[in-house]
Amino acid sequence: MEVNIKSMKREDFKDNEYIDKLVEELNATGANVAVGKLDQLINWGISNSLWPLTFGTSCCAIEFMSLGAARYDMARFGFEVARNSPRQADYIMVQGTIVHRMAPVLVRLYEQLAEPKYVIACGGCAVSGGPFKKSYCVVNGVDQILPVDVYIPGCPPRPEAFFYGLMQLQRKIKVQKFFGGVNRQEKVEEFFRQHPEERGQID
């Protein structure tokens, strides 16, 4: 099994050892034929319908707007249905610096996203704090507060870089296991163990 993106040569992607390792692992352990095919179908669906949450704090957000505009047109990939409500979005692209005041808001937005959900850290500030690393109130990389799937460096990254990052996310999705991989029910139980007072309040 290999992970391919339509009309992109594999050589353009081979620098991503992480995904190659996942593929190897998947090939070694193997999957049930029926479940495996179903997984592939679902992953095809998810990876081709990544709806972003409109979330941008600074310059990268403007480049993201360029990404949606006519020249780069992310609609070609089906990414254009930007949802403003986190409940309906698939991934959060952190565009710009995250400061202390914003950090809890970002975490909350992430928690509000419905599974399966992904995070892309976009631009120097979101990757590491960027030029503001030494500041008294800047979070040095969103990976300190969120699990990040893909990093896109740049200040701000070019639209092409955005696409490259999104395609890396597509490749990553294509090797994930939906059956057995993401199990929301377990997480709910774990949540109730940690917050027994919420039992009965939500179902």
Binding site: I46, A70, D73, R76, F77, G78, N84, A114, E115
Partner: protein
């Protein structure tokens, strides 16, 4: 025109032949149900792609391209994704109503779709009050929106739902009056009869001025009824995040999404039935050869083509016009549109009474 009731009657007779009558009706119901739901899904998916491609072309873009040839599989990818998305339930909401709301909306639009005849005899029940029934069912949808807004326990959804309530109740009046003018003209509410009346020429041409006014009023009111731009205030993205369905995820949101697009088809379908002759082909009096050729195109194609054309116009509105404000929208309805449609109704009645029509 080819009468599809021959086919449906043949199926009925066939089933009656070897099944008791109750079982035959049951089997027919199941077949019809499957057909309607299938048509619903396919149409909704088609409409989503249709709008995305159209708006891309308006905006000098390409639109979905990479998933399947010309992006045709894009909507299927979206549907797979939406189906497996997590359904979030919230603390502090009215859980029963929260989950009920999307079903009310989807039910209302499925019932409306089921009432639309696609061709001669290609309908489920030929009501003698067909158009009245469709209007009545369409009002159920607003209940779902109000429930969704209220049960979400969120200020944005509540404002969105209240706007939606005010908007739909107001514009329903103009919508109804515009359709009543045509009913006055045709003298029937039975959809089959209404379309049959347009055998010689469409109502839009036969009723000349009052029919054209009614058509324009209907298009405006229908745009508002389906919550589409420039009247998309209930879900005004830039004000209310996502309006009444802000808190819905997964397939619950998918229901709202599908219903929105399907309602677009339904209002376009009604317009095509009432004004543009439904499944009747386009005829020009005197051009017999031309009319003959037009007759070869089957009825359902005519119906769908007209509906898609009107949808195109409504989509065009959405991507061109800015959004109106709630007070401007209500003022427009109550101060201009409704008096105009009342006057138009009177005009139509006068025309009919004096025989000033074709």
């Amino acid at each position: 025109m080819f009468d599809f009731s021959i086919v449906t009657n043949w199926v009925n007779d066939l089933l009656m032949g070897f099944l008791p009558s109750w079982a035959a009706v049951l089997v027919e119901c199941v077949i019809i149900g499957v057909c309607v739901l299938l048509a619903y899904t396919v149409l909704a998916l088609f409409y989503i792609l249709y709008e995305r491609k159209l708006c891309a072309w308006f905006q000098c873009r390409l639109g979905p391209m990479r998933v399947g040839p010309w992006g045709l599989l894009q909507v299927f990818a979206d549907m797979f994704k939406i189906l497996i998305k997590e359904l979030i339930s919230l603390k502090g909401t009215d859980r029963f109503l929260f989950k009920l709301a999307p079903y009310i909306i989807i039910t209302s639009s499925v019932v409306m779709l089921a009432c639309l005849p696609w061709g001669n005899g290609l309908q489920i029940i030929d009501y003698n009050i067909g158009i009245f029934f469709i209007l009545a069912v369409s009002s159920v949808g607003v209940l779902g929106i109000l429930l969704a807004g209220w049960a979400s326990n969120n200020k944005y959804t509540l404002i969105g739902a209240m706007r939606s309530g005010a908007q739909m109740i107001s514009y329903e009046i103009s919508l109804g009056l515009a359709l009543i003018s045509i009913v006055v003209f045709a003298g029937t509410m039975n959809i089959t009869d209404l379309v049959a009346e347009q055998q010689s020429a469409w109502f839009l041409f036969r009723g000349h001025i009052p029919a054209i006014i009614a058509f324009l009023i209907y298009i405006v009111a229908a745009t508002a009824e389906t919550n589409r731009g420039p009247f998309d205030l209930p879900e005004a993205e830039h004000e209310l995040v996502a309006g009444y369905h802000t808190e819905y995820s997964g397939i619950h949101f998918g229901f709202f999404y599908l219903a929105e697009y399907l309602n677009l088809f339904i209002v376009s379908g009604i317009a095509s039935l009432m004004f543009l002759g439904g499944w009747m082909p386009f005829h020009v009096p005197g051009w017999d050869g031309f009319n003959e050729i037009m007759n070869y195109i089957p009825g359902p194609v005519w119906f769908l083509a007209k509906a898609f054309f009107i949808s195109f116009v409504i989509i065009w509105f959405k991507w061109t016009f800015p959004r109106v404000r709630i007070d401007q929208m209500l003022a427009f309805e109550w101060k201009y549109l409704m008096p105009l449609s009342l006057l138009n109704l009177v005009l139509m009645a006068v025309c009919v009474a004096l025989g000033w029509h074709f």
